[in-house]
């Protein structure tokens, strides 16, 4: 009665694609783009879609860490503040000898990772609920921002940032390329390494994970550190794209990152999901935002339309599977 390969590990079937949230979200993005392109001339132009991807890259980068954290059973409410700290901070750490700006960027990324580590420390060792820990961290960072806001920026622009913000490689914006590379790495780590498996373990059942020898504390620290890092990276990118950072630049990315994660099919309860869904989730969000912008209606109606669209797309992309 030994199981053959097929009964033990059934062959992949095309039909199962239709139950895959990530794939469904991709379909929906495509659908929205096509419909919008017909409804609003100019919306579907190559340049515009490319621009949307560039915007999605920022959300997408923030959402890498957010996806990790959510899969591991937590949530990170400090990503918006970290994006701001990073975008405002790069010019402040610029050194005179650092002509490329690489040092400043690396220093800021290290700082962002450090902030994430602190989050992880609180969650793992002080057993503070992630929402509380990261919310408190965001508040704390606001204090830091008051200190550094308006600090005279020596040079907001450095070559590395300018390149990130403006360069196109074979027509593809550097930001999108950065996003692609980091996404590939993120996906690989999540699905092809023991570390990734630990995240899924942690989110589904931390107690059983601990009893199975998963070092829950260290994994938690690492997860929040990754979230800090990707938020920091997003801050650097957004700084490049805007030419200048300002206090508050990261604010929109908190809810956007969470929405992208959940729209992409990752369970907010932790333990299941994939960054593969978050990617189209992020694109979907910027697309809807752009769509709402070009609709001529009062602010109230636009807000209602935006909410209704999200709800509608959520209905299409599928339901939370029953748990427990």
């Amino acid at each position: 009665m030994n199981g053959t390969e097929d009964t033990r590990f059934p062959r992949w079937r095309a039909a199962s694609l239709l139950r895959n949230r990530a794939f469904l979200t991709v379909l929906i993005v495509a659908l929205v783009w096509i419909v919008a392109a017909f409804a609003k001339p100019g919306f579907g132009s190559y340049g515009h879609l490319r621009y949307l991807l560039e915007l999605a890259a920022v959300i997408g980068l923030v959402a890498i860490g957010q996806t990790y954290v959510v899969i591991a059973g937590g949530i990170d409410l400090s990503v918006g503040a970290i994006v701001t700290v990073s975008a405002v901070g790069v010019p402040l750490v610029a050194l005179s000898g650092d002509s490329s700006g690489a040092f400043a960027v690396i220093a800021i990324l290290a700082a962002a990772t450090g902030i994430g580590l602190l989050n992880g420390l609180g969650v793992a060792y002080l057993r503070i609920h992630p929402m509380i820990m990261t919310l408190a961290m965001a508040t704390f960072l606001q204090g830091v921002l008051i200190l550094i806001a308006g600090g005279t920026a020596i040079s907001a622009q450095n070559p590395l940032l300018a390149w990130l913000g403006n360069a196109r490689i074979i027509g593809i914006p550097a930001g999108v390329i950065l996003w692609t590379i980091v996404s590939a790495a993120a996906l690989a780590v999540l699905h092809a390494t023991p570390f990734g498996a630990r995240l899924f373990a942690l989110g589904a059942n931390p107690l059983a994970s601990a009893l199975s020898g998963v070092n829950v504390q260290r994994t938690t620290m690492a997860v929040y550190a990754v979230s800090g890092l990707t938020a920091g990276l997003a801050g650097v990118l957004v700084l490049g794209m805007n030419g200048q950072g300002y206090v508050g630049i990261g604010d929109p990315y908190l809810l956007a990152s969470i929405a992208a994660v959940v729209l992409g099919g990752t369970s907010i309860l932790g333990g299941s999901g994939s960054y593969a869904g978050t990617i189209p989730g992020a694109i979907l969000l910027v697309t809807i935002t752009a769509l709402i912008t070009v609709v001529n209606a009062s602010a109230g109606w636009r807000s209602i339309l935006f909410g209704s669209l999200i709800l509608l797309l959520l209905l299409l992309s599928g339901r939370e599977s029953q748990r427990r």
Partner: protein, 326 residues
């Protein structure tokens, strides 16, 4: 004694040196930080004169409810004056009335409250802002053209007032067609995103009526990235915008909400407490930046944060003149 007290809320029973309270709505944005700078500078000045001994600052973190709570605390602590940037144009009305009844001088500036239970309101005129901006743009376009209108956040009085101010001029010029309007926070990134989408949707745009903050800078960055020709655009004194203006040789016009409104409010509070008569509403004339004086502003740029606002110069003499003007 009461007879000496000229200004509203002032009972004349408070003696120098005074304690001033600044009930800020949100101290994180750079504009606020610069404003705080002018208040602190003015308070230093007043301390030297022996008129003020303490400045307490609260930060409501953007929450109008928390601001009410903090104003209540200021009343409880019996400060002598409250400087107020209101988080909502209606919400603090009742708590302010309480403060006023206690003889606390209330100087409301920048974001105003719809109540007259204050010692003085200090502000530029948002309606006039919208009106002047619209007229400049219409004039620039020769009364004909397709434009975008960029507004601040929805549901906020200031952005609503500026937009309303523009109405009359726009209605009088049927040749001006509004292609689309947006509401975004007064920030570069959201404005840039919105304008980019609008540029794709509307291939022909002749002008942009931008009503404040960093919206104009966002719009210009959006056009620049797409390689679109620059169009006439209105704006504010954000350093980034002024630099882009010069850089791209724009046709522009800008005005400002001077940060020294804060310092002025502190000055006014002390004047009122000292028994001087202060007008219930001090209308600060809108400084105008155009090609004639932009270089003067940019020359001082390095004194201001990169994401800050280059405001016109001020001194106590100017404050005195503004208070004297009826």
């Amino acid at each position: 004694s009461e007879a000496d007290a000229a200004a509203k809320c002032i009972k004349g029973d408070r003696k120098a040196p005074y304690t001033l309270g600044w009930a800020n709505i949100y101290s994180v944005p750079t504009w606020m930080k610069q404003t705080e700078g002018t208040i602190a500078a003015e308070v230093e000045e007043l301390k030297k004169q022996g008129l003020v001994d303490k400045l307490v600052i609260t930060d409501a973190q953007g929450d109008a409810n928390v601001q009410i709570q903090q104003i209540q605390s200021m009343i409880d602590a019996d400060v002598d004056a409250i400087l107020l940037i209101a988080g909502s144009s209606t919400a603090p009305a009742r708590v302010i009335a309480d403060a006023c009844a206690k003889g606390i001088a209330i100087i409301n500036f920048d974001s105003l409250v719809d109540t007259d239970q204050v010692t003085a309101k200090i502000n530029t005129d948002s309606n006039e802002w919208g009106d002047t901006a619209a007229k400049w743009l219409i004039n620039e376009l020769g009364g004909k053209g397709k434009i975008l209108v960029l507004n601040g956040p929805a549901g906020i009085s200031v952005s609503d007032d500026r937009r309303k101010g523009a109405n009359a001029a726009l209605a009088a010029n049927p040749g001006i067609e509004i292609l689309a309007e947006t509401n975004t926070a007064y920030n570069v990134a959201p404005a840039q995103e919105a304008v980019t989408s609008l540029l794709f949707a509307h291939p022909e745009i002749d002008g942009i009526l931008s009503l404040g903050g960093a919206l104009s800078a966002g719009a210009i960055l959006a056009m620049d990235k797409q390689g679109r020709p620059m169009v006439p655009i209105t704006g504010e004194n954000a350093r980034q915008f002024l630099e882009l203006w010069k850089d791209k040789s724009l046709k522009s016009w800008a005005t400002m909400q001077p940060n020294w409104l804060g310092g002025f409010a502190a000055y006014t509070a002390v004047q009122a407490l000292e028994g001087k008569d202060v007008p219930a509403f001090v209308k600060v004339p809108l400084p105008v930046i155009d090609n004639s004086n932009i270089d003067g502003y940019l020359a001082r740029a390095k004194d201001f944060p990169a994401d800050g606002y280059i405001f016109s110069p001020y001194d106590e003499k100017l404050f005195g003149e503004l208070l004297a003007a009826k």
